[in-house]
């Protein structure tokens, strides 16, 4: 083994050298070159003791002192993991969830303005943004379609339809609103999305619903900004920049599967980026930055599967897997086989000997694991094409413990009522949920009409935070803590009035209506099984996103449907007419008063006819008496 490693050493040094050089140019250049990555894979495979790239690079740098003076080398402490979870859904649809995690033991903020200049796995475009705007935590998601909790269960990482962005700024930031505005514009450029439409009219500062998910117990919500764009359409132009943030791009690893024509031909598509500070190791002596890129997609039984309950990687993504991303320290595929212990529900081929269990979303699930870093996974054909073939009909799904829906009631364009129904399906446990509603100012919300009823009885929220809207400046923010009785429906209603806007404030299709962002329901739901509170243990990525503090409950976030609300519209074709007509009426008023004010009454003396006047002129000339 040692001989083998010695034999590989020169090549190894060479490859690493080229890696270092490629990074020198301050450009985010992931080693996309196919040959290079292949050789790197070989190295990793062949020399396990030298697998830690950082150590070697350090020795490499020790040899070249000039290099060290020229730039500070990146700390040899970043790692990349990728994984994909496939969960067959009860409805016959299939849910695929990708997670890519890059962890980097550096600190953008404490280094101050001199900032990190050397990037390896972490995308430089995001790193610069983080340090420039002193961002502590950043969560952004783009979603097309609505997650149907009642049919599909719970997603691993929930997201509302449209775009959602929430950011915790570092507490040293003085001008949070200014930073937020610039940040949204920059992100808008990075993700090719309309995030620049986020302004003060749709930004709120939730007081309780969005706590930092990473390290640090920031509670001052002045440093938090939350905004949604429910109308944002997600498409290929958002996926491409998102893929470019991955160390391997879409050239190798799981990202190969992301072909946009397949991904967007689905019932639900959600892509997200989550950046947060995490513990570097189990002692938590120092912090590291974690970048999680997630992509969730639900393929529809009928549109993508042609009605046949038969799925394969190729059918879903029109690609098969041939390799892991060479830069990834782990690359795995999990297939949820909890409901299929004896293989009576579906066939999974090729089958995997590896079985892992994880506690996720309050339930213990069993997964078949395919490790892509292992050669045998790919078998004889050197490609992995997972195939799921249903055999039996699945029984009804267990109702998720919490779900919510929302609708507008009432008719006409004058007023309405927003109903939010919160379902607690837990048979015997009551638990509190935080409901957050951010409504635009043009719905004039009458908070004093707020009613919360569960089981036909009034259920007074124990905490209500309401920030009134200001016309054309800021939206309504309504947050409340509601205790949901066991096995009940809690209905929250509030009345509103629809405003008439200026004609320039309407969207180009005003009669389509205005989208109102989802309500956010955050809750600590009682768990059926004990949750894993040991955050340091190596767990699959999908089960470790929301930190768990206690064993008895787990954190859950549910988004309701966005609303489509019609507003009364003026006639857009006649501004000139209106200006003319109204001014005429004012002029009628002005004119009639002016007339009466400036003139006086006089007896009307009709002037003599023309002939008489002419005759009189002649008579005057002649000197005879006038007529």
């Amino acid at each position: 083994m040692a001989a083998l490693s010695r034999k590989w050493d020169p090549l190894f040094v060479l490859v690493l050298g080229s890696l270092v050089f490629s990074c020198k140019g301050d450009v985010l250049k992931t080693s996309n070159d196919r040959t290079e990555s292949i050789s790197a894979t070989k190295i990793e495979e062949s020399s396990p003791q030298a697998a830690d790239l950082g150590d070697l690079r350090q020795s490499d740098e020790a040899e070249s002192n000039e290099d060290r003076k020229a730039f500070t080398p990146p700390p040899p402490n970043d790692q990349f993991q990728e994984e994909m979870v496939i969960r067959p859904l009860y409805s016959g649809d299939i849910y695929a969830s990708f997670q890519f995690r890059t962890q980097w033991d550096t600190d953008f903020l404490h280094d101050g303005k001199k900032a990190v200049s050397h990037y390896r796995l972490f995308p430089k475009s995001l790193g610069q943004v983080l340090s420039k705007f002193s961002v502590r935590e950043l969560h952004i998601s783009f979603t097309q379609g609505y997650w149907r909790t009642m049919q599909w269960g719970q997603p691993f990482i929930p997201s509302p339809p449209g775009a959602e962005l929430w950011v915790w700024f570092h507490h040293t930031v003085t001008d949070v609103d200014g930073n937020w505005k610039e940040l949204t514009n920059v992100l808008s450029g990075i993700f090719c999305a309309s995030l620049n439409f986020i302004d003060s009219t749709n930004t709120v500062e939730p007081s309780a619903s969005f706590k930092p998910l990473g390290l640090g117990n920031a509670t001052d919500h002045r440093f938090l900004r939350y905004a949604t764009l429910p109308r944002e359409i997600v498409c290929t132009e958002n996926l491409t920049p998102w893929k470019k943030l991955l160390p391997c791009g879409s050239k190798a690893g799981l990202a190969v599967l992301m072909k946009s024509e397949k991904l967007f031909h689905s019932s639900f598509h959600s892509q997200a980026v989550h950046i947060r500070p995490v513990c570097k190791d189990w002692q938590c002596t120092s912090t590291a930055w974690e970048l999680r890129q997630t992509l969730n997609v639900v393929f529809d039984l009928y549109t993508s599967g042609q009605g046949k309950k038969e799925w394969s990687l190729f059918k879903m993504f029109s690609r098969t897997l041939t390799e892991a991303c060479p830069l990834a320290s782990s690359s795995k595929i999990y297939v949820d086989v909890t409901d299929n212990p004896g293989g009576e529900l579906f066939d999974l081929s090729p089958s995997s000997p590896l079985i892992s269990t994880a506690v996720v979303l309050g339930d213990r699930r069993t997964y078949s694991v395919y490790d892509l870093t292992k050669k045998e996974t790919f078998g004889q054909l050197r490609s992995l094409n997972l195939l799921l073939r249903w055999k039996g009909e699945s029984d009804d799904m267990l109702r998720p413990p919490l779900h919510a829906e929302r609708y507008v009631s009432g008719f006409g364009l004058q007023k309405g009522e927003i109903h939010t129904c919160l379902y607690n399906s837990h048979p015997y446990r009551a638990y509190p949920v935080l409901l957050l509603d951010s409504l635009p100012w043009y719905l004039r919300l009458y908070v004093h009409t707020l009613t919360v009823t569960s089981k036909t009885r009034e259920n007074k929220p124990s905490y209500i935070h309401y920030q009134p809207s200001k016309d054309r400046l800021r939206p309504h923010l309504l947050e409340m803590l509601v205790q949901l009785p066991p096995h009940s429906v809690t209905e929250v209603t509030v009345q509103f009035e629809r405003a008439l806007l200026k004609w320039t404030e309407y969207t180009p299709d005003p009669n389509h209506g205005f989208y109102i962002g989802s309500s956010v329901i955050s809750a600590l739901v009682p768990s059926i099984v004990a949750m894993d509170t040991n955050s340091t243990r190596d767990r699959p990525l999908f089960s470790s996103f929301f930190p768990t503090k206690e064993e008895s409950s787990y954190f859950m976030r549910v988004y309701t449907e966005p609303l489509l609300v019609n507003l009364p519209t003026p006639d857009f074709s006649m501004p000139y007419n209106v200006i003319c007509l109204t001014c005429t009426v004012v002029a009628v008023g002005y004119g009639s008063f002016y007339n009466l004010l400036t003139r006086t009454f006089q007896v009307d003396e009709p002037s003599a006819p023309l002939a008489k006047r002419l005759a009189n002129i002649i008579r005057r000339l002649r000197g005879v008496p006038l007529l």
Binding site: P568, T582, G589, F601
Partner: protein, 499 residues
Amino acid sequence: SLISLTSVAFLLRGNCKHVRTKDSPPNICGFNLILVPDIKICRLVNVKTVIPMVQLLNWRRGLFPQTKMAAPLTLVLILSVTIRAVLFRSSLAELISERVEVVSPLNAWKRGLFCYYVLQENNISLFFQTPLVIYLFHFVVDYAEIVFMIVDGITAVALYLAVQNYNKNVFRKQKYALEADRYPHDCLELMRSPKEMHYIPLKVAMFYLLNPFTILSCVAKSTCGLNNAVMALFILSTLKGSALLSAIFLALATYQSIYPLTLFAPGLLFLLQRLYIPVNPCRSRFWFFTVQYSVMFIGSLLVIVCLSFFLLGSWDFIPSVYGFILSVPDLTPNIGLFWYFFAEMFEHFRFFFICVFQINVFFYTIPLSVKLKEHPVFLIFMQIAIISIFKSYPTVGDIALYMAFLPVWSHLYRFLRNIFLVSCVLLACTALFPVLWHLWIYAGSANSNFYYAITLLFNVGQILLVSDYFYAYLRREHHLSQGLYLRRKDGSEATLVLK
């Protein structure tokens, strides 16, 4: 004496029905004494004027018929309270309280309640209403219905007393003018008789209390009723000659909705007239009183504003109430001219037109004060009418206040040119408002232009109504100085024109 009256009337070839004893004042013993010098005049003029003349001259001797008017007024009050109570209890109350014609963002009970709630629960000051009104909510929120009915009653009684007082003044002036023989002799037709004027205060109270507009406004619990009460009290205290109370109520009304500021001029003119101070800038007494009244007004305004500040601990209400009134950010449809105009306005002209439209409301004060400086009460009427037509968030409650004054000018009826047309327009518009609103908002078969057209027509109707009354008033004054039956130079009947 009754027999003698009848005989005299017959002597004068009078019609018997004009001298029915039940119409006659109860105490008429002085009749014979004063009849003799007046018969000369009476012979010259139309017979119809004889009886009013008799009554007029009776009044001169302190024999003005003073029947008890409290009973009918009480009756009207009870009737109006019953109507309101029934409506409050019916299912219509909620419907009415959401009508855009009846409530505006500034005076809607729902918004007030909302501000009150937000202030109480979250301690956030958010205003559509002035802080004092919101503070008032604290006390009245549980018995709002009774309070609004009482407020309407107060307004009616204040208007009743004010008009009674005004009529007395009118009589006194007419008496002096008659005694000084200042009127041309053919103008006796235009003289106002006690009989005709007897019921005017009651009619005013009725016009206010039983006006559907007031009833709707009250049932909707629009705080417009409060503003009207403050204005009515201002008018009452002015007509009673109490400068301090007048200034205080004017300050309150101004505090509530800026626009009553224009009533400063008629209030001052009336008080000056009452104190026999000529409006002459060269006289120190004029300036002394003007400064005195202004100081009282500004002082009480400051006190009220500071009181609001101490109640809330912030000045937020100034921009959010007065900025809201002046810059018209809320374009909810109403019966006024602002909403659609500024919904359709080009952005770069918005500021200009807001200035124009707001100046328009205040602008008429100066020329009207100059023209009507001898007639401050009519000036008050004109100002209230102009405010309710041209203000930024008008409601039917505002219209009800100036419409209550129409009986006071019933003697102008003969000079009104198009009262029939205008009444028809106003009635038709009132009926069409809910119809077109329904078509636009609920049925979706009409668009905003329909409702807008009706607001335009309604405002034209109001403008014509007010300018017609103005015309009639000026014309009557002209006739009182020039004679009723004017002749041309050649002796033919003349027509009067404005030149």
